[in-house]
C-alpha cells in the first residue's frame, strides 16, 4: 500500500506545474467574474482539474515507466482513481471557497448551497467514472479525441444544467427530492459508489492486457 502513496505523490507533483493556470481559471469561472452565474465553476473547474490530472500520464512512455515498477497493474489503476477522487474533492472545495469569496467581495449574503456542492461532487465522481476507463482503454491518439469530446460535453452539460436549475420541471424534482432528503441522498451516494466501482473494474480489465 506504500506504493499507492508514492503513486499519488507522483500525480500531485505532476499537476503542480498547472497551479497558475488553475488559479486563473478558478478566478475566471467563479462568482468573482461570473456575477450572475456562479455555478459555472462547479462544472468546469473539477472537469478541468481531472483532465489535467490525467494528461501527464497519458504518454505511452509514462505508462511504460509505471508498468516497469514493481507494482501490479490493478494497483496503478487504483491509485489513479484515488488521486482523481481527491482532485474532485479539492476542486469542489476550491469552487465553494471561490464563490464564498465572491459573495464577500460583492457584499452578497453568504450562503452555502449544500445541495449544489454535494450534487456537484457526486456528478463529478460519475464523470470521472466515465472518463477514466477511456484513458485505460484507448491509446494516446484515441485519448486525445476523448479529451476534446469530454471538454465539449462538460460545457454542454453546464449549459443544460444552468437551464435545468431554473426550469420549473426541475423545481418539481427538487421538491420531490426534498420530501425525502435523507433517503434520496443515500440512494444517490450508493449509485455513485456503484458506478465508480464498475468503472474501476472496467479500467482494470482494459489495462490488464494493454501492450505498451
Amino acid at each position: 500500500m506504500h506504493s499507492i502513496g508514492g503513486l499519488m505523490k507522483k500525480d500531485f507533483l505532476l499537476i503542480r506545474r498547472f497551479i497558475w493556470l488553475l488559479a486563473i481559471y478558478a478566478v475566471v469561472f467563479s462568482g468573482i467574474m461570473q456575477k450572475e452565474n456562479h455555478t459555472l465553476i462547479y462544472s468546469l473547474f473539477p472537469g478541468l482539474l481531472l483532465i489535467l490530472g490525467i494528461s501527464s500520464d497519458s504518454q505511452r512512455s509514462a505508462q511504460q515507466f509505471l508498468v516497469s515498477l514493481p507494482v501490479p497493474r490493478n494497483r496503478l489503476v487504483l491509485s489513479k482513481y484515488l488521486s482523481s477522487l481527491i482532485l474532485v474533492v479539492a476542486a469542489v472545495l476550491i469552487a465553494t471557497g471561490m464563490n464564498f469569496a465572491s459573495d464577500l467581495l460583492y457584499g452578497h449574503p453568504v450562503h452555502l448551497d449544500l445541495m449544489l456542492i454535494v450534487g456537484t461532487f457526486l456528478s463529478m465522481v460519475v464523470f470521472m467514472s466515465i472518463y477514466l476507463p477511456f484513458f485505460y482503454w484507448l491509446g494516446l491518439k484515441g485519448f486525445q479525441v476523448v479529451n476534446v469530446v469530454m471538454m465539449i460535453a462538460i460545457m454542454v452539460a453546464n449549459g443544460v444544467m444552468t437551464s435545468l436549475l431554473t426550469a420549473s420541471d426541475f423545481r418539481f424534482l427538487q421538491d420531490r427530492f426534498l420530501e425525502q432528503p435523507g433517503l434520496s441522498w443515500i440512494f444517490l451516494i450508493l449509485l455513485t459508489l456503484l458506478v465508480s466501482v464498475i468503472s474501476y473494474l472496467i479500467s482494470c480489465r482494459a489495462f490488464r492486457t494493454r501492450d505498451l
Binding site: S3, L14, V67, P70
Partner: protein, 288 residues
Amino acid sequence: MTAIDVQGLSKRMNGFALQQVSFSVPKGYITGLIGPNGAGKSTLIKIMMGMVTPDQGSITIHGQSAGIAGAAYKANIGYVSDENIYYDTLTLGEMKEIFKSFYPRWDEGQFKEYLDRFELPVKKKIKDCSKGMKTKFALALALSHHPDLLIMDEPTAGLDPIFRRELLELLAEFIQDEKRTVLFSTHLTTDLDKVADYITFIHRGKLAFSQTKEEILERHLIVKGSKELLDSDTRKEFVGLRETDFGFEGLTADGSRLQSIFGSSALYHQPTLEDIMYYTAKGGKAYA
C-alpha cells in the same frame, strides 16, 4: 543456474513476429542480446518487464513467473529502457524521489555517487537533458536500488564513445558479485565483442543461436577468396556472402570444415559479432 528462462515465446506485432523463441540467460554473467533493428529484441525485453503480453510461451525470472501476472519480481530488476520513460516536466531530483519510494533497497548514498560520477545536474528538468544524460540517469536509478538483474534495452545508442567504455567498466564492476546478471540488448556489437560472456542472437523473430561468445567466435570464420572457389556446393557452406569483381568474402558457421575444403587457397580470420550479424542478415535465409 539461470536468471531468466524464456520458453516458447511467440508474439505477433505490426510487421513482424517472435516465433517460438526459447533461451536462457545464465546467472552471474553478461549476456548480450543482439540482432538487427526490428528483430524483436525490444519486444522480448518488454515481455520480460510485463509491458507486452505474449501470444504464447512464458518467461521465468529468478524462479518467478514474469509478465503481467506478478509485479514483485521487478523489485529485483534494474531496468534501462531504450527511450526516455521519465516525466519530462520534472527535475532529475524529483523523478528520483518518486522512483525510490518503490524500491526497499534504495541506496541514496550510492545514487549521489553516480550523480557525481556521471556529472548529472540534479536540478535540471528532464526535458532539458540530452539523450546521453537521460540514459546515464536511467542507469543511476537502476543501479542504486541494488538489483540482482540488470536489463538494458539499447543503452549505448546515443551515448558518446567515452561513456560507452565507462558503461562496460560499470558492468564489469556490477558482475563482480556472481549472484548478479546482466542482459544487454544492442545492435552496436563492438561493446559486446569485449566483455560479453554469452550471446543470444535474434534474427527475424527467431532464435539464431544462444551460446558463449567464445564458442560463437571460434566456430565462425570469415573466408576470403577468389570467385573461382565458389560453386553451388561451396556456396551452401556460407551463412552469407559478399561478392565483388575482385573476389568474395563470406561467413561460415563451421570454420574448420571450410578450412579443410579450401585449404590455403583462401584467407581466413576470426569474425566480430558485427560480421556475424551483417552476414546473417545478408544471407537472408533464416538461420538454422
